[in-house]
Symmetry: C2
Subunit: 411 residues, 2 copies
């Protein structure tokens, strides 16, 4: 076992240790569910107060110009571009990840000259699959969902596939896909690639432009800490912006929305992916949360995230209690997002028992216990505490005692 002194030493050497105080977290707990819902930070609290009492309240309708509300979607888009390895002008913050999937897949199909197959994985996050299904209902034979196992992606590429839709980090297993290699392999068949970054944005180094990605979507309420159900984002490569079409053509995607023209004329830029009026309050929280990335690089976060997971696994395996749980996904941490997932017969009960002990992970049906590692606010001593609680709970057999059938929520 790594000693408490050694964990304390790791914390002392941690260049990110100062950011813990940014987050309003209880002292006696270890939050390993930031991959589902990131915690609130002081800058988000402050911004929410400002947007209500220093913007909306005194300036009312004039705030749209005076406080730049109307530019929030593209302003946050550019913040995200810097985080996701993209030139500015290619990302918009808007709507939900599901809605943005619909736009991105439609847009990708609009560039695919008659091909109809949309390839995805059987184990992709359900909404990615459901949005393809929904699009198929409208487009009939011009949009066909084809499912393969994650291991068969590369073997399933062919000239008659129009679009490949993948989530970079599997929400259940934590498996990290190779964005660059898969994108390149797919594009050799003329396939457009849509990446869902829900579980990788802001925690795994991503280079959308360098990987020549066609489209991407993602959410801002997990590792990006933008707030519960915060607005999502969409990326479209600059090379596609003049030629694509997307069908959720709301008034803010118009080239000149304030002309109130009766016919739609799409904006030439990324703004063509905007639809309705932006959700200002929620979006302001996202803007504030992302300012953290002006001080910290994703590479720094990745380095600490890998160390946190490494310490967790080392401590757990040395405890002698690890044999009951089976790690799901790659053992090589560099092939994972910032998440460990374990199969365990009584995963639900164990998850509940750990919450009572102050260690918050989550359960995914039918038998998976997930732990997310967010290096912004987790210390190595937190990890030591979490493993201690896990081991003690397993030794005490608490998992089989918990029968609370509470619903588990959010991805």
């Amino acid at each position: 076992m790594i000693s408490n002194d050694e964990l304390a030493r790791l914390d002392q050497q941690d260049p990110l240790r100062q950011y813990r105080s940014e987050f309003l977290l209880a002292k006696d707990s270890c939050y390993l569910d930031g991959n589902s819902l990131g915690p609130v930070s002081q800058r988000v609290v402050q911004k929410l107060q400002d947007v209500v009492t220093a913007q909306w309240q005194p300036d009312l309708i004039a705030s749209w110009n005076k406080h730049g509300w109307i530019d929030l979607p593209l302003r946050i888009g550019d913040q995200l571009a810097a985080i996701l390895g993209a030139e500015s002008g290619q990302i918009a913050c808007c709507d939900s990840t599901s809605i943005n999937l619909f736009k991105a897949i439609s847009a990708a199909l609009s560039l695919s000259s008659g091909k109809s197959k949309v390839l995805t994985t059987t184990d992709n996050f359900p909404t990615d699959r459901y949005m393809i299904e929904g699009l198929s209902k409208l487009m009939d034979e011009r949009c066909e969902l084809v499912s393969v196992d994650e291991d068969d992606i590369l073997n399933s590429l062919s000239d008659d596939v129009a679009v490949l839709v993948l989530t970079q980090v599997n929400f259940r297993t934590g498996q990290l896909l190779d964005m660059k290699a898969i994108t390149q392999a797919a594009q050799e068949y003329g396939i457009r690639v849509v990446w869902d970054l829900a579980h990788s944005a802001g925690i795994v180094p991503i280079a959308l432009d360098d990987c020549n990605v066609d489209f991407a979507v993602g959410c801002s309420y997990k590792f990006l800490n933008g707030g519960p159900g915060a607005p999502a984002f969409i990326y479209a490569a600059k090379r596609h912006l003049e030629s694509l079409e997307q069908p959720l053509s709301g008034w803010l995607g118009h080239r000149r929305p304030f002309d109130f023209s009766p016919n739609y004329d799409a904006s030439s830029g990324i703004a063509q992916f905007l639809c309705g009026t932006p959700s200002v309050i929620s979006m302001s929280a996202v803007e504030a949360a992302l300012t953290l990335y002006e001080e910290i690089s994703v590479e720094q976060l990745r380095e600490k995230s890998l160390s946190l997971m490494e310490v967790f696994l080392a401590q757990f395996h040395q405890s002698g209690a690890a044999e009951k749980l089976t790690l799901v996904g790659p053992r090589d941490l560099t092939q994972r997002g910032s998440q460990l997932a374990f199969e365990y017969e009584h995963a639900y009960g164990l998850c509940q028992a750990l919450i009572k002990r102050g260690v918050v992970g989550d359960f995914r049906a039918p038998n998976i216990l997930r732990f997310g590692f967010s290096p912004l606010y987790l210390s190595f001593q937190d990890i030591g505490f979490a493993v201690d609680q896990l081991v003690e709970s397993l030794r005490a057999g608490e998992a089989t005692q918990a029968i609370n059938n509470q619903r588990s929520v959010v991805t």
Copy 2:
């Protein structure tokens, strides 16, 4: 002219006068743009603080159950149902009005057995038209936009029309359409009717069930005061819930979202219109704003709204300055929403000059000055003040002096 004493007497007799103190508005101004963006209320400020510091902060992911976040869309839907004359279980709060239009029109088409014509007005709010255009791109000849003038709606109904999409109150002219008569006339041809309530929800008495409306959508940031860009809503009549299909089939519309099943199986209720994860912070503000309607009826608001507009017009016409401006839309106030609109050559300049004088209306291209009347926080003396400023500004010729070319924002 109505004397200041008489205006003060009207205010003293106003049963809604106490609600002015709910809203955080500057004392020396008259806000006539609540039909574009409603102001902030004390209950909304309080709720936003609670959701961040008493829910998200301490309870993190557990808030989805503990604080009922997961039920927000349908819980707010039921608040709206009471306001809009609908039985519970038929409205969901979610996404934007534009996105909900897409769902509603798709759903209406899914019930229309092969008919393809979607009839709307040339002067409908642009996003209503744009969303039909977007749907047409996906559905090809199975969705065809047909435009007519507002006066020709009844003459344009026929057996080959599938869906009629109308906004109850015209965003430019303020004209109020007869929901019951038009719905009935359309349904005699087997047409499904989608009503956009953006400019009528919470201010015009509406009886969705009694009018046998098929679908409706609307926004919560105008007369409902839910906050800038707040989540919108969608209504679907109970009789359609088992047979319709809507294509924005995100994970929260699934019958059992937490099964994370690979294939979509739509919820049987109004929840099938949910798509992505709800925007909790913005939605909580809406929930708080709507609690005002537990104390006040829409009929009360309508009565005062008509009186406010009547006083405005009477004062203005008696001032001798009214001839320069032409009232747009019906002179009969009962055929208007809660909005007066005037055509004026220098409408933009006049709007800017009035803002400087503390009277906030808005400008709509090319030459319309709009004033919205929200009886929750406007007094009769406010109206007297507004007319005084309007008259003085016109007499001073301020409209032609203003050349500030600021963009005008939001519907």
